[in-house]
């Protein structure tokens, strides 16, 4: 699905809604060396590569897949 800029927008069909309640005070963003988990950048997925990979998946593998109940 393309947005108004002609950019592929995979989630454009999701309904957008206002924030339902006042979020209250926001904590400050952690600093780079704050000790929390880091935030590396994630690039945009290359659709062609992923589609190629997905086409190799056996369409029937889930039908054959059987497990015993676990916890």
């Amino acid at each position: 699905m393309l947005d108004s800029n002609g950019v592929d927008e995979p989630f454009a069909h999701f309904e957008r809604r206002e924030r339902p309640i006042d979020p209250g005070p926001r904590p400050p963003a952690p600093k780079e060396d704050s000790g929390g988990p880091k935030r590396p950048d994630a690039g945009s997925p290359n659709k062609d590569d992923m589609l190629k990979r997905m086409r190799k998946v056996d369409p029937k593998q889930a039908e054959r897949y059987r497990q015993r109940t676990g916890e």
Binding site: P10, R16, R17, I21, S34, G35, P40, N46, L51, V57
Partner: protein, 503 residues
């Protein structure tokens, strides 16, 4: 000193052998675990701390719903040429983890962790350990290679778990725990769900044509119960603290999905820990869901996140409303507690904002959003409908832990997922446990004195060195990081286990 909320994750993996008819999952799981060994298998796991009949509500049940089925399997297994312990094949690894065959699934239980980065690294280490075991097994096999999936369903009504565990104070009344946690847990799936094609129920009724948020929601059938394989509860009441019973509980949550996204794992556990903190402080928001079991299924099926969930007070709330109540209360009370809590609060608010608006930035961070994006991209390309069986197969392949085949791992290899730890940290976690928990101590005992260990379990290690009976390293109360550090130093320098006692 407040109780440290140490945490850990147990994951049961799906296992199959490609193209093999009449697969025996007992043998396959057992052989997979043993393939990881570099020496003959030795039985050292001590089961004495395990009694799944003990209930946190203060009683012991005489039977579990799964007992009859377990007895039937035991009868079948009694004809096999190996004992129960041999079938389980419990390994304790040098990183303090437990790797074994649980209910015909290879299960990896991380060591106890104190930080989210450590937890993510150890969860990922588990994936790689199991994949390496599969590689070794496949080298020995002539045909039908082993395949492993970090997911929770076989799309035929059989589910297997990914359990998150938290150390907490015994002083917290169970009723407070239940009322504070259940609304949060019902709605946690909005960022922790792994996504699933189809709808199913326990051992029956798979219906395609639907994509939902959670793998496990379909299998939640009651609010609180000690059972784990039938009538699964939102809040499991099993009382196995694996620690000093007088002082601690272990919260054992079985409702969660196995996450491939590091970010989802961290946020799932981080937010749960924050909610436990609020419950212990008596500041948890009150949400009176009328029917939590129906609600958890309704949330999973509502990808718009706009459905309102009936509350007994008459103020109906959406899943995002409920999550916002929790994060707002937490932000007011816990901001500035420590860097990791601040990270959790910031990300929790951000992810709720993104779920309510533009979700595209969550591809690679939240599993169900990532999976939905992948599948819809494929459907558009191949002109498929949700009912096409190919989509369930792609769903399964998302969770394949072979980096040459798994769809999530392909995204990760291309740099399209949000990473929270380095590959070098995962590699370290394969070999050594956290430096600040007893999990690391357990691993150190294994790496330094494997031949001297008589038996081992979560809260103690027994060494053979006693003159009359084994000497015991008790860890049921070992949660102070300074004490862990002192013991670690002693263990690292000791020439034998007896030298530890001498010091």
């Amino acid at each position: 000193m407040p109780t440290p909320h140490l945490f850990g994750i147990e994951t049961e993996y799906g296992i199959t052998r490609e193209g093999m008819p009449d697969l025996d999952p007992v043998v396959e799981s057992m052989e997979l675990v043993r393939a990881y060994l570099t020496q003959p298998f030795e039985q050292s796991w001590d089961y004495s701390g395990e009694d799944p009949h003990e209930d946190q509500r203060g009683f012991r049940v005489s039977s579990l719903q799964q007992d009859r089925e377990e007895d039937q399997f035991a009868e079948l297994d009694s004809h096999r040429p190996f004992s129960f312990r041999e079938m389980k094949s419990d390994l304790v690894l040098t990183n303090g983890a437990r790797f074994y065959n649980d209910h015909t699934h290879p299960e990896y239980s991380t060591p106890e962790c104190r930080s989210l980065v450590d937890l993510v690294a150890h969860d990922r280490a588990g994936e790689r350990i199991i994949f390496r075991a599969a590689q070794k097994r496949n080298q020995a096999l002539q045909s039908y290679p082993v395949k492993l999936y970090k997911n929770n369903t076989d799309f035929h009504g059989h589910s297997y778990g990914c359990h998150d565990n938290y150390l907490m104070s015994r002083d917290t009344p169970f009723e407070d725990l239940a009322s504070g946690l259940i609304p949060f847990l019902v709605t946690r799936q909005v960022f922790a769900g792994a996504g699933k094609v189809g709808v199913e129920a326990q051992e029956r009724d798979y219906v395609s044509g639907v994509f939902q948020m959670s793998q496990r929601a379909d299998f939640m059938e009651t609010q609180c119960s000690v059972d784990t394989m039938h009538d699964r509860p939102i809040l499991n009441t099993r009382d196995e603290p694996h620690a000093n019973r007088e002082k601690y509980r272990r919260l054992h949550l079985i409702l969660g999905d196995a996450n491939m996204c590091e970010y989802a794992t961290a946020l799932k556990v981080g937010t749960t820990r924050v909610v436990l903190e609020m419950i212990e402080r008596g500041i948890c928001p009150s949400v009176d869901l009328a029917d939590p079991v129906s609600a958890i299924k309704a949330v999973s099926l509502d990808l718009t996140l706009t459905a309102v969930l009936p509350c007994t007070s008459g103020t109906d709330l959406s899943a995002l409303d409920i999550q916002r109540r929790y994060v707002d209360a937490a932000a007011k009370a816990l901001i500035g507690t420590d860097a990791e809590t601040d990270w959790v609060l910031t990300e929790w608010q951000d992810v709720l904002d993104q779920l309510a608006g533009d979700r595209s930035a969550l591809v690679g961070s939240v599993d169900w959003v990532t999976k939905q994006w992948l599948l819809e991209t494929f459907m558009e390309s191949e002109h498929l409908e949700w009912s096409d069986p190919w989509l369930a197969s792609l769903d399964l392949e998302y969770h394949n832990i072979d980096p040459n085949a798994g769809l999530f791992l392909s995204l990760e290899a291309a740099g399209n997922t949000r990473r929270l730890c380095e590959d070098s940290e995962i590699e370290s976690a394969i070999h050594a446990g956290p430096s600040d928990t007893r999990g690391g101590i357990r691993g150190l005992c294994v790496s330094r004195f494997r031949d001297r260990i008589h038996s081992v379990q979560w809260e103690r290690v027994l060494f053979k060195d006693g003159l009359i009976k084994p000497k015991t390293l008790e860890m049921g109360d070992l949660f102070d990081p300074d004490q862990v550090g002192v013991l670690r130093e002693v263990l690292e320098q000791a020439s034998s286990p007896s030298a530890v006692w001498d010091k």
